[in-house]
Structure formats: structure tokens, C-alpha cells
């Protein structure tokens, strides 16, 4: 593991919002190319990047739209940079084709979506968590993906670094699924010194040019990379390709390639999943949350506990890949899962799938625009075991 370049690291305590913390996380992680297009509530991220980048040797460009932003960063990635784009709902929808391109060409990048309420233009300045399934399945075809959900400005800093590290390690687009509350919430953010920040360098091919096979996987199913201008004369295509990177449109090549793109996340999932538990052992009810909902659920959980209910809390830090194994395990021990979300039940579907009828799964839906009233979550917790086995 390498550590961060001190030039980008604003060591110290700051009082900033999640958007600004995300920018600082990106800079600390070594990101030096950002392309974006303004959209509330994500714009502050690129504004801070535009302000800071000239002083850390980075390049920021405001592109003509999100389609352009989400592919300009891929060009920059193949020139050797760590790259990021930042958007919200409508822009996220425009980027879907290029999530697929990055997945197919195994281009490491971070794509930040500060979720706002949709569909369409919806509530541009207000929170939601309605893009979670889009993050998993938004581009056509099959591929593995990683998505993270910070719940505080501090985590916007810490997990942005983690997002870059995962993107480099697995050569996948990593989706950073913030929400408007976390993006605009101002809290204390502590930035450690650069030598305390671990960053994953690009996995570069080190052997000879002759033996280089651009898409031949290593033991972890991920190939090493080269960059443009180093004399490799590489070919990178969104078409189905062989290990050399050449188009090869056969059923066999398709099967091998797509299986690997799925498996490199699936088979490494236990290393990637990240969740935080509180009082889950011995609980009858587990509240599963992520992002801002993990904070609105706290008073509800406390109230239920004070009334004698055995309630645990499992917060997803990594939403994709989903912690299937853990939810399966818990489902045979607990009576119910309660899943409050600022949508009508997206991650709930995952919990329900893994519970497979062994425990009751209750969604606490919300259309977004504000956060849950903790009372609604409390009542769902209280009622969740009533009909349970």
C-alpha cells in the first residue's frame, strides 16, 4: 500500500459539508482529472475541485453534458490519471451508457451521484435514495459494480478515498451514492496526515511489451493496465473482446468475458462488502439502513429498545456488492428486518431476497423530499414482529 501525496492533503479539522469533503477525499486519493456538469445538489463538489485543482496539478473541465463528462474521464483514465465525475439524478441517468463502457473496458473511475428526489426533475434540491437499483443495473448487459453509501461528511471524505482504492484494485467504475442530506450537511471532518492515508496505485503491467495481454486476468480475475503513450499500441473497445483487447464477437468469448466481469466482483465480494453493526447479536429485529437513513433510524431504534424490544442495526457502507452472506446468516436468527429507505423499496428487495422467507422483511418507504419521521420507523419496528413466525 502506498500513502497519499501530501500536496493534496489538507490535514487538520474542518467544518465542511459532505460535498466539499468528497472533493477533499478525491484529491487525497490522488484524483487528478475531474469532468462534470453542474447539477444540484452535487455542484459544490466540482466547484471545490475547480478551485483546488490548479494547486495540486489536477485538470478540471466542465463538459457540455453528463454524457461527455462520463466519457472524458475514461479518456483521462487511459492516459494514466485517477478520475472522477460528479452528478445527480438526471445526470446520473445520462451516464448509464458509459458505466457500461467502463465496466466493459475495465476502466477505473469514481462516479459520484448525490441523490435527489425523482423521477425526472423531481425535487432538485431535496434528498432521496431512489437511484440504488439504477446504480446496480442501470447500464444494459451484465457486469459487476461497486457502490458506497456515506452517512456523514467525515465518511464523504474517508469513503471517497476507499472508492478510488476499490476502483483501482478491481478496475471497475465505483459509484459513490451520496444523498442530498449527506451532501449538504455540515459537520466536523478530520483529515489525517498524508502518511496515514492509504491509496491504491494503478495496477500497471510491469513485464515486457511483447508478453503484454491487455485483458488477461491475474489470480483475482483483474488484468493489469497500461496507459496511452507508452508504446504498447493497445486497443480498447466496448465490443466483446479477447484477452488481447481485439473485438471477438463469438458466443464463447462473450461467455468468458462477461462471466469474468461479473465474477471479479462476485467472487471478491467478501473482501469488498462493508457494513457496521450495532446490537445485532441476539436481536429479534434488525434495522437495515444506509446513507442518511442510518441517522434518522437511530431515535426509532432507541425508542424501541427502551420499550424492551431487541433491535439491532446493520448499516450498509458498501451497498453493492450486497452483504448477502451476512443477511442470510441473520435471517435464520432474527424475526424481522426493517428497511427504511427514501424510495419505495429498493435495497429492501435485496434483504427480502436474502431472507428468503426465513424472516419477515418490512420496508419503510418514503418518496423523498425530506427524511423519514423516526416515528414511522419506530412503528414499523414495533409492528414488524407481530405477524412474524
Amino acid at each position: 500500500m502506498a500513502t497519499a501525496d501530501p500536496i493534496g492533503v489538507l490535514t487538520g479539522a474542518h467544518f465542511i459539508d459532505g460535498d466539499h469533503a468528497c472533493s477533499e477525499g478525491a484529491i487525497a486519493a490522488g484524483c487528478r482529472f475531474v469532468a462534470g456538469y453542474p447539477i444540484t445538489p452535487s455542484t459544490e463538489v466540482v466547484e471545490r475541485i475547480a478551485e483546488r485543482f490548479p494547486f495540486v496539478g489536477g485538470v478540471f473541465i466542465q463538459m457540455e453534458d453528463e454524457i461527455a463528462s462520463s466519457i472524458a474521464i475514461q479518456g483521462a483514465a487511459w492516459a494514466g490519471k485517477k478520475t472522477m465525475t460528479v452528478t445527480s439524478g438526471p445526470g446520473f441517468s445520462l451516464m448509464m451508457e458509459h458505466i457500461g463502457l467502463a465496466a466493459m473496458t475495465e476502466t477505473p473511475l469514481v462516479l459520484v451521484d448525490v441523490q435527489r428526489a425523482g423521477p425526472s426533475t423531481g425535487l432538485p434540491t431535496m434528498p432521496a435514495q431512489g437511484d440504488m437499483m439504477q446504480a446496480r443495473w442501470g447500464s444494459h448487459g451484465d457486469y459487476g459494480i461497486i457502490a458506497l453509501c456515506p452517512n456523514s461528511p467525515q465518511e464523504c471524505f474517508d469513503l471517497t478515498i476507499k472508492a478510488f482504492n476499490l476502483a483501482e484494485q478491481y478496475r471497475v467504475p465505483v459509484l459513490f451514492m451520496m444523498d442530498e442530506c449527506v451532501g449538504h450537511m455540515i459537520e466536523r471532518v478530520v483529515i489525517p496526515s498524508a502518511d496515514k492515508i492509504e491509496v491504491t496505485p494503478r495496477r500497471m503491467h510491469t513485464g515486457s511489451k511483447e508478453e503484454y495481454l491487455a485483458f488477461a486476468p491475474k489470480a483475482d480475475l483483474v488484468p493489469d493496465m497500461v496507459k496511452a503513450g507508452d508504446g504498447y499500441h493497445m486497443h480498447v473497445t466496448g465490443l466483446t473482446h479477447d484477452e488481447k483487447g481485439y473485438p471477438n464477437m463469438t458466443v464463447g468469448t462473450q461467455a468468458r468475458l462477461v462471466r469474468r466481469l461479473v465474477d471479479k466482483i462476485k467472487l471478491n465480494a467478501e473482501k469488498i462488502v462493508d457494513y457496521r453493526e450495532d446490537g445485532v447479536e441476539g436481536a429479534d429485529i434488525v434495522v437495515v439502513t444506509y446513507g442518511i437513513t442510518s441517522r434518522t433510524a437511530l431515535p426509532a431504534i432507541e425508542q424501541a429498545r427502551s420499550e424492551g424490544l431487541k433491535v439491532g442495526h446493520l448499516r450498509l457502507v458498501v451497498a453493492w456488492p450486497f452483504p448477502e452472506k451476512r443477511i442470510r446468516e441473520l435471517s435464520s436468527k432474527v424475526k424481522a428486518f426493517v428497511v427504511p429507505e427514501l424510495n419505495f423499496g429498493q435495497m429492501t428487495l435485496e434483504v427480502e431476497r436474502c431472507a428468503a422467507g426465513r424472516a419477515n422483511t418490512v420496508c419503510v418507504p418514503h418518496a423523498g423530499g425530506t427524511v423519514h419521521n423516526p416515528k414511522d420507523i419506530y412503528e414499523a419496528i414495533r409492528d414488524s414482529v407481530k405477524g412474524a413466525k
Binding site: 485538470v59 457540455e64 453534458d65 461527455a68 466519457i71 475514461q74 479518456g75 499500441h233
Partner: protein, 256 residues
């Protein structure tokens, strides 16, 4: 013996001078007999070979289409991206490593319909790249649908009764958006074209070369304009060379 030597591969098939920049392990290519795209590639390679550029620092970016396949045949750093988006990919590549000479090589539909917004903005920003656009006046790859470059009254599979929309005048578009070098040649003007591409590669800023090229399979035959050779002859007979022309005056009509 001399006769035996004739059958020696190296003697019987001297390497084509452009082979050194082709991925020969990917030949034969997918293009139809009589297609103009291959000729443009030949000119491009010759322009590169005489350009004096360090070929390890040249990157070619294509979108999607018959022309979009060009990147995949060139033995250079080459990127085959998504439909219409070669220019923003190339923008990121260039900005992230200014040492690179970045060339976008794609079709008329790709660069001016779905990618039209990126085209005008890259010209406006004067991004340092050369854009080579093969204009066959049609969407070739998808089977001959109308393009913004299809001449008025020409037919296409989605304008079976004739195209009633106005046609883009691309040199005018590029110039008015800020391109520093603008040219149009045809696939039959191979020497002029080669020289022009070389000039474009030598310019700093957004340079643009449009190449009229036959698509016999889906444009010229459908429009009763003959095959590839007939189109090439038409270009030779009717093309007019006007250096420094006012680009406003170089719009094109349907040839029949």
C-alpha cells in the same frame, strides 16, 4: 533457383508500406468491396508516416459505425468508444496527457448527429485534436438510415420517399465553431487528402478534415449512383478544388 524464389513468401508478397501501422492480425477487415473507408485509412497512415510524429504518442479514438472500426485496425494506441462520444473521450485523453497527438476518426452520423454537441464544443474550446470525418452521407453500420449529411431528396431506409431535411455543411459548421484548420477532400483525391491530413496533424488546436467517401452498399446503389468506382469517378469529374474558399459557399446538393 530463381523460380523457387518466386514462391518464397517474402519475395512474392512484399510488405505493403502501410502494413507497419496496421494490426495485420486483424486483417481482413469488415468493409465492403468498393467502400471508401479503407482508402482514407491508407491516406491517414501515409500522412502519419511522413508527419515526423512519434507514433508511440499518437492515439486514435473512434466512435461507433463502419468508420468507427478504423481505430481497431491501426497499430497505435487506439480506442473504440461509444456512438457519438469519441470527441469527449479524446478530450479527456488529451487533457490528461498533453504529450499525446490525439486523432478522432469516425463517421458522419457518429460525429454530427448523436455526437454533434461534442463536435461543436470541442471546436469552440479549440481542443488540440485532429478530427477526421468520413462522410458517406448515410448511417452505414446500421443499414443505410438517413444522416444529417444525407443530401436533400436522396433516399435512405428511413426516408424511403426522399430526405426532406436540410444537409449539414460541415466545413462551415466547424469553422464557425472555431476550428483552426478545415478541409474537405474525397476518397479519390488520395494525394491531396494525404497532404491535407498531414497538414491537419501539424496544426495545434482543433483541426478538421472531412472526406467524402462512397458507401456503395447502402447509399450509392440505393440512389442509383452506381458502385464505389462510379462514385470515385464522379468525385474526380465534379469536385472542384478551391483553397481558402468561403466555407459558407461549400454546401453540397444531391448529385443526380
Amino acid at each position: 533457383m530463381v523460380e523457387e524464389q518466386l514462391f518464397d513468401e517474402e519475395v512474392a508478397a512484399p510488405a505493403n508500406p502501410i502494413e507497419s501501422l496496421l494490426r495485420m492480425d486483424r486483417i481482413p477487415h469488415i468493409w465492403c468491396p468498393g467502400c471508401g473507408i479503407g482508402t482514407t485509412v491508407n491516406c491517414f497512415i501515409r500522412a502519419l508516416q511522413t508527419s515526423g510524429l512519434n507514433l508511440d504518442k499518437v492515439a486514435v479514438v473512434s466512435g461507433i459505425g463502419c468508420t468507427g472500426r478504423v481505430a481497431g485496425y491501426l497499430d497505435l494506441d487506439s480506442f473504440h468508444t461509444t456512438h457519438g462520444r469519441a470527441i469527449p473521450f479524446a478530450t479527456g485523453l488529451k487533457l490528461a496527457n498533453p504529450e499525446l497527438k490525439v486523432v478522432v476518426y469516425s463517421g458522419d452520423g457518429d460525429l454530427t448527429a448523436i455526437g454533434g454537441n461534442h463536435f461543436i464544443h470541442a471546436a469552440r474550446r479549440n481542443v488540440d485534436m485532429t478530427v477526421i470525418l468520413v462522410n458517406n452521407m448515410i448511417y452505414g453500420m446500421t443499414g443505410g438510415q438517413v444522416a444529417p449529411t444525407t443530401p436533400l431528396n436522396a433516399t435512405a431506409s428511413t426516408t424511403p420517399h426522399g430526405n426532406f431535411e436540410q444537409t449539414f455543411n460541415l466545413p462551415f459548421l466547424a469553422e464557425s465553431c472555431g476550428a483552426v484548420y478545415v478541409a474537405r477532400w474525397t476518397a479519390s483525391h488520395v494525394r491531396h487528402l494525404t497532404k491535407s491530413i498531414k497538414e491537419a496533424l501539424g496544426k495545434k488546436g482543433f483541426s478538421f478534415v472531412e472526406i467524402l467517401a462512397p458507401c456503395p452498399t447502402l447509399f450509392s446503389r440505393r440512389n442509383k449512383l452506381g458502385d464505389g468506382l462510379d462514385q470515385m469517378e464522379y468525385y474526380q469529374e465534379h469536385a472542384e478544388i478551391r483553397h481558402g474558399a468561403d466555407t459558407k459557399t461549400v454546401g453540397m446538393d444531391f448529385q443526380s
